[in-house]
């Protein structure tokens, strides 16, 4: 966190006015939501399924290098579509308004080792409610990294560039562990907790199914191409993991993004909540295809303001949101993917070393942070 509060120039009344303006943007989309949006998500889901089917079909002949390349590329894209534009957004309830039980947050399951039920809790309830609040939002470094000067340094953090790289490669497993709150729950006392054990078993079952599908069934179906298909699905999972990890790092870690102390959210108003989402998120700029492949998480700011609006609407919402940033003289953090990824990685390296705590802080605050 920078020593200077970038929202200090706003009065309480202005913040509430900002909240009302954001509510109006939201209401406008909801009033207009309809047939075209429904057709969009159905088209994306149908395209994803066809792409996955065709890619897996091509991989049956993965012993031939062109087939391997084509199938692996197709499967990587299909898995990314499943997780990002479809899974993440359906699980947010963005499409619940259609009342289609086949495309609903309570029935959806994704191509991911973390069962959707557990992911929804840690992501929708914790991360989206307590965005960037130190000690409350575990997404801030996923419990294995420091991504802000205000987070306490331990010698363990010296290795965080390496932890981050490993996490990127096996990101879906990292998320599953994170959703299980493994770090906290592996303590002796908690390990026996029946609720935790039930959740751990659910993750175990999901991992077994995923592994069986990707590394046993499909390779076996490929016959003589067994090993090639195995390598192909491993590669596709790796590509998906690296890609989603990069996109998600860009959401909250780049320079310029603010974090908040626990005390600051006590009695938070709607306007203040909106403001925290605005200052705590960062976008990625780019082409339509780029936005699509990130599951529109490139519009992270808009997504955090309106997590349950259909993702295909974030682009148009972004124009209005950006105008509000200008009107209220706030910094809209955005940049092309390589720049944002580099910025996030720089932070991971820099904060692996201890830093001097920023000054001008009350003793109270120190205590809060230690407690966090």
């Amino acid at each position: 966190m920078t020593a200077i509060d970038p929202t200090a120039h706003l009065t309480a009344e202005q913040i509430e006015e900002l909240g009302r303006e954001l509510d109006a943007i939201r209401d406008e989309v909801i009033a207009d939501r309809g047939e075209k949006d429904a057709a969009y998500i159905r088209k994306v889901i149908s395209a994803q399924r066809k792409l996955e089917l065709v890619s897996r079909g091509v991989l049956l002949f993965s012993i031939f290098p062109p087939a391997w390349l084509l199938g692996t590329a197709g499967l990587s894209v299909a898995k990314i579509m499943d997780n990002m534009e479809i899974g993440h957004n359906v699980l947010h309830g963005q499409w619940d308004w259609m009342r289609d039980p086949k495309i609903h947050s309570t029935t959806w399951e994704w191509d991911h080792v973390s069962p959707s039920e557990q992911w929804k809790h840690s992501h929708n309830e914790l991360h989206h409610t307590y965005t960037n609040v130190i000690g409350k939002d575990n997404d801030l470094g996923y419990g294995i990294m420091r991504v802000d000067e205000d987070q306490k340094w331990y010698p363990f953090h010296l290795g965080q560039p390496l932890w981050n790289f490993i996490n990127a490669c096996f990101f879906e497993y990292g998320i599953a562990a994170y959703d299980l709150e493994l770090g906290k729950n592996l303590h002796k006392r908690r390990r026996k907790d029946p609720e935790f054990r039930a959740r751990a078993r659910a993750v175990g079952r999901k991992i077994r199914k995923q592994v069986l599908k990707d590394y046993v069934i499909h390779p076996l179906l490929s016959g003589p191409s067994f090993l090639n298909t195995l390598a192909a699905t491993f590669t596709a999972n790796l590509v998906r993991n690296l890609w989603s990890h990069s996109v998600i790092m860009c959401g909250h870690f780049p320079e310029g993004v603010q974090v908040f102390e626990r005390r600051s959210i006590k009695g938070e108003t709607r306007g203040q909540w909106y403001l925290r989402q605005m200052m705590g998120s960062a976008n990625i700029s780019g082409s339509k295809a780029m936005h699509f492949m990130t599951g529109n998480l490139s519009h992270q700011i808009e997504h955090h303001l309106f997590p349950d609006l259909p993702s295909n609407r974030y682009a148009e919402v972004a124009v209005k949101v950006r105008a509000l940033f200008e009107k209220y003289e706030l910094e809209y953090v955005t940049g092309p993917l390589p720049k944002q990824v580099a910025s996030a990685w720089r932070k991971v390296f820099r904060l692996s070393l201890p830093n001097k705590r920023p000054e001008a802080r009350t003793p109270d605050r120190e205590q809060e942070l230690v407690a966090a």
Binding site: G34, D37, D96, R99, D100, T106, E109, L212, K213, I217
Partner: protein
Amino acid sequence: MTSTALRGRAWKLLEMATTPLLPSDYLDLVSPLRAGADLRGRIEAVHPETGDAATVVIRPGRGWRGHTAGQYVRIGVDVDGVRLWRAYSITSPTNRQDGRVTITVKAIPDGKVSNHLVRRAKPGTLIQLDQPTGDFVLPQVKPAKVFYLTAGSGITPVMGMLRDGEFDDVVMVHCAPRPQDVIFRDELHDLVADGKLRLVEVHTDTDGVLDIARLGDLVPDWAERETWACGPAGLLDAAEEHWTEHGVRERLHTERFRPGVVVAGDGGGEVTFSATGRTVDADGATPLLDVGEEAGVLMPSGCRMGICFGCVTPLKAGAVRDLRTGEITEAEPGVLIQTCVSAAAGPCDIER
């Protein structure tokens, strides 16, 4: 190993290859009407009947079990991207050769689904179907003398019956505002010309509303006839009273399209759908089914009028009011409520 067991194993293997999706998710892409799929139908044509009514020709999926004349079917239609379920009487005969079924829909003011079906539905559109249901049907043994008493779109289940078989002696009294509002008018008049039907049209714009006490003037032997009545609640209430008074209530069969009296309670309250994690404010007059659907909660639903119990849901906390009787139900373990006829009576928690 039997072939069923073999097929079961093959299916399991397929499921392992498609997880977390099901093989049917892929099959639905190419063959949504196949046997074994969720029951769906495809709209093949929409024929206007009157200014505000149309017949929708539906090709049902392979799982369709067929209907009995007079039954209705619940259909799920996407209107402005939102899936809405309604019940409509089947108007096609049970022995239709091409396997299609028809429903006939009258657009009611502010009716989202009826207006969509009558004015905007396009051939080729997929809709969701339930199996046909309802006990407003003809008995196995054909009654000698039949009387149909209908008004407005209440003619639709009766048309299904008329088309399904011939009777020796059928009388029909049908009420509609004007002659051009009578659905199936040409076909009815053809039946009359062939001597298969005696028809009395009551045009309420000019004749006034049918006075049930004077039914004997139109159909002198009404009390001897097995009667099927379908229309607005006012007509059916009056008919039930009239038949009861004359001691022939068992000859009267009625079909209602809307729930009975609505008791609007005051209050209402904050409704939590705990499984979905939504909380919304509800008034004391809106059925919890509508409240949930509006909030994007997946609510099971059925007849939407308190009959079929397709919508029952556990009430975890709080209290609800039955909109038909005003009766209050409080949460206790195991208490199930019909969300289509219950409204919030204070804050409550619905397990959806």
